[in-house]
Amino acid sequence: MVSITLFLALAAILFCIGLYGVLTRRHLVIVLASIELMLNAVNINLVAFSAIGPFANITGQVFTLFVITVAAAEAAVALAILIALYRNRNSIDVLKHDLLRW
């Protein structure tokens, strides 16, 4: 069996790629996609511990389901906001949306 360390390393790498995308991409859809990627990385962790962790049990997978549920809801609302934003401000460039500045 593959060592859990490798699964965790994969999750960390995916998480960091997602985080980098959130921090640097200008297109809001891609920012959202990056967030989904980060959530996926977390799910890998959960499932890995659930399957081959020191205390393997079903709880990790149940939580994965919850995370997927919340991620779906989040994606739906976020995209709705994005569409409304685009309609009102005619742009989904992150740099253009800085109304909350000092």
Binding site: L19, L23, V94, L95, D98, R101
Partner: protein
């Protein structure tokens, strides 16, 4: 009599004494609310209120004669073991004062109805008069010195309001401010005295203070300190040297107000204060000496200043200061009754003189310089005669009111004071007679020098003109209105000569003239010193001195000498008018300039204060403000610098968060050795 019935039930008229100040208060409130609507009718309301007060005062006095002191107090607050009370009290002294205040106030109200009828703010004027009367009556009725102090301050406020009634006139505004500030100096002393007194005695009540003084609860230096501090309050209020400078300036107020201030209310409050605190003063010979000398010096100085002044109201003002000095002098030489007796008689004839002066000023279209007057004797019959009576009374001619009281003052200075004080009193009496008759002769005899009263080129800057100036400025477009206002004092086309005023103005003069004649008899020796018996009953104020017969003759002789000199100078011209001023011009100038006291105050107190204030202001501006500005700009600059980084960019925030998280992780790693 109704009070007889009430007496049977055990509730006398004195129980209702608290209503006396309430009536003027009610008129004040009515006029405050409805004054604008009532317009000319306000005078009737004011007069009615005061008439009720006067009536009640008479009833109270009648009951107090032969009765006991009536006190009614409620507990106001408890301070530790001491109880502060509020209430009212009818003593012999304040029963007398109630009559004087209500009577003079009533007369002034009646006089003002005519005098102020053209003023658009007449309702405000009568409202202030009501408040003024209320304050003074409340002061008089107070059973403890704290309550007295409250009304004392109210009186000060009212005089401020009334002196500055024509506030659009810069002089009036300045005079009001001056009166308020200078009396404030005295009030501070009074307040400190009060606090000391409460601290030592544990009560503000007169009775308990008297007892404490009698039982030697206070050390002698403490009594002297308290007495002097309280006296400082009286000095400010009663315009004694050196705080007298506000009173002449207070002449900027309307003339009826001057009458009220000088006769019955404001300045009488100081003398009254010494009167009610008299046992305290008696217990300290130092305080008594200070009081006596202050009074004597004030009397003399003020009289000399009155000699050379040409403003009819200012002469009377200086005369008031001088007479107040007399009262203080009497009180300072153990002449308790003499001082208060003079307070009463003076109230009558000074009110008479002021209202007479008001009548004259009114008739000559608001001119106040006596050099512009003259020859009014035939033209203003009632005014002239009553004014003469007033002048004779103040000069102390037998048998008018002033004679009796002044003779008693001379007696008390002679018996209890020293020769110096007696000499000053005599000289002042002589000067009083002289300057009063200088005023009288210049105003009423000889030729009228005012010229054409309707001559518009005539320089007649005065209260009314200033008022009209603002009025016409306000209603500039209303031409008809302006035309109506040109000669505000006469309904029809005015004549070119002064003439007697309407009955409403002369009636008060006649009432006061009668009083100025007969008021002295209540303490006349051959009638058994009635007032003295009344005032001293149950009070420990020492034996009252009485003069010998020769003193009465001396007093009258001095007065006659003064009158004769005035007659010789101003009527017959035996002595040239400028005889003295040309002989000693420097002294003349000294008198004229109020002994340069105003200038001295300016140089000693006002200027340095201003300089120091300016300096402090500069310091404040550069150092204090500088530091504050520095801190402020530092904050805002750093805020701006930080704000630049808060660019509203989500991803910038995210990046900062990442670094922040890493710092936390790094710290955990460094400190704990990685999650261990």
């Amino acid at each position: 009599m109704c009070h007889g019935i009430l007496k049977e039930k055990g509730v006398g008229m004195m129980h209702y004494a608290w209503l006396i100040p309430v009536f003027p208060l009610i008129t004040f409130l009515i006029l405050l609310v409805a004054g604008r609507v009532l317009k000319e009718k306000v005078a009737y309301i004011g007069i009615a209120g005061l008439a009720l007060s006067f009536l009640l005062s008479v009833l109270v006095l009648l009951e107090r004669i032969g009765g006991e002191t009536y006190t009614y107090v409620l507990n106001w607050m408890t301070v530790g073991e001491n109880v502060v009370t509020m209430g009212y009290e009818v003593t012999a002294l304040n029963a007398m004062m109630l009559i004087v205040v209500t009577l003079v106030s009533l007369v002034v109200h009646i006089f003002s109805k005519e005098y102020m009828k053209e003023d658009d703010r007449i309702h405000v004027f009568f409202a202030y008069l009501g408040l003024f009367s209320f304050s003074m009556l409340g002061l008089v009725l107070a059973p403890n010195i704290l309550q007295l102090f409250i009304f004392w301050e109210l009186v000060g406020l009212c005089s401020f309001l009334l002196v500055g009634f024509w506030y659009f006139k810069p002089e009036a505004a300045a005079a009001a401010k001056k009166a308020f500030l200078i009396t404030r100096i005295g009030d501070v002393g009074l307040l400190i005295g009060l606090v000391l007194l409460f601290n030592r005695v544990g009560s503000f009540n007169y009775a308990e203070i008297y007892t404490a003084v009698e039982m030697d609860q206070l050390s002698a230096p403490m009594i002297t300190t308290i007495a002097l501090l309280i006296f400082l309050g009286a000095v400010g209020k009663s315009a004694q040297f050196p705080l007298h400078v506000w009173l002449p300036d207070a002449m900027e107020g309307p003339t009826p107000v001057s009458a009220l201030i000088h006769a019955a209310t404001m300045v009488a409050a100081g003398v009254y204060l010494i009167g009610v605190m008299y046992p305290l003063f008696l217990a300290s010979s130092t305080a008594m000496t200070v009081v006596a000398y202050t009074g004597a010096l004030t009397a003399l100085f003020a009289a000399t200043m009155a000699l050379v002044n040409n403003d009819i109201k200012r002469i009377l003002a200086y005369s008031t200061i001088s007479q107040l000095g007399f009262m203080i002098l009497a009180l300072g030489t153990a002449g308790y009754v003499a001082g208060l007796f003079h307070l009463m008689t003076h109230a009558f004839f000074k009110a008479l003189l002021f209202l007479g002066a008001g009548s004259v000023i009114f008739a000559v279209h608001h001119r106040q310089d006596i050099r512009d007057m003259g020859g009014l004797w035939g033209k203003m019959k009632v005014t002239s005669v009553t004014f003469l009576i007033g002048s004779l009374a103040i000069a102390g001619i037998f048998p008018l009111a002033g004679f009796w009281s002044k003779e008693e003052i001379l007696a008390s200075t002679l018996i209890n004071g020293d020769g110096f004080l007696f000499l000053i009193a005599l000289v002042t009496a002589f000067l009083t007679a002289f300057y009063m008759f200088r005023l009288f002769f210049k105003t009423f005899t000889g030729e009228f020098k005012g010229g054409d009263l309707n001559d518009p080129t005539e320089e007649t800057f005065n209260e009314q003109a200033a008022w009209e100036a603002t009025q016409s400025a306000e209603v500039g477009l209303d031409a008809g209105y302006e035309e109506r206002k040109v000669y505000p004092n006469h309904q029809e086309v005015p004549e070119n000569e002064p003439r007697e005023n309407a009955g409403l103005m002369t009636f008060p003069l006649m009432v006061l003239a009668v009083l100025a004649v007969i008021a002295g008899f209540i303490n006349a020796p051959f009638l058994g010193h009635q007032l003295e018996a009344f005032l001293t009953a149950g009070l420990n104020v020492g034996t009252q001195p009485h003069g010998a017969l020769w003193l009465a003759f001396l007093s009258v002789a001095v007065a006659v000498a003064g009158i004769s000199l005035a007659w010789a100078m101003y009527v017959k011209g035996f002595i040239r008018e400028d005889f003295f001023s040309s002989k000693a011009p420097s002294i003349h100038k000294l008198f004229q300039n109020n002994y340069y006291l105003d200038d001295i105050y300016l140089a000693v107190f006002v200027r340095p204060t201003k300089e120091i204030s300016l300096l402090l202001w500069e310091m404040d501006k550069t150092i204090v403000d500088g530091v504050i500005t520095l801190i402020g700009s530092l904050t805002s600059r750093s805020g701006k610098a930080m704000g630049k980084h808060q660019d509203g960019q989500l991803q910038t925030y995210g990046l900062v968060t990442v670094f922040g998280g890493m710092v936390v992780i790094g710290l955990a790693f460094a400190v704990r050795g990685y999650f261990g």
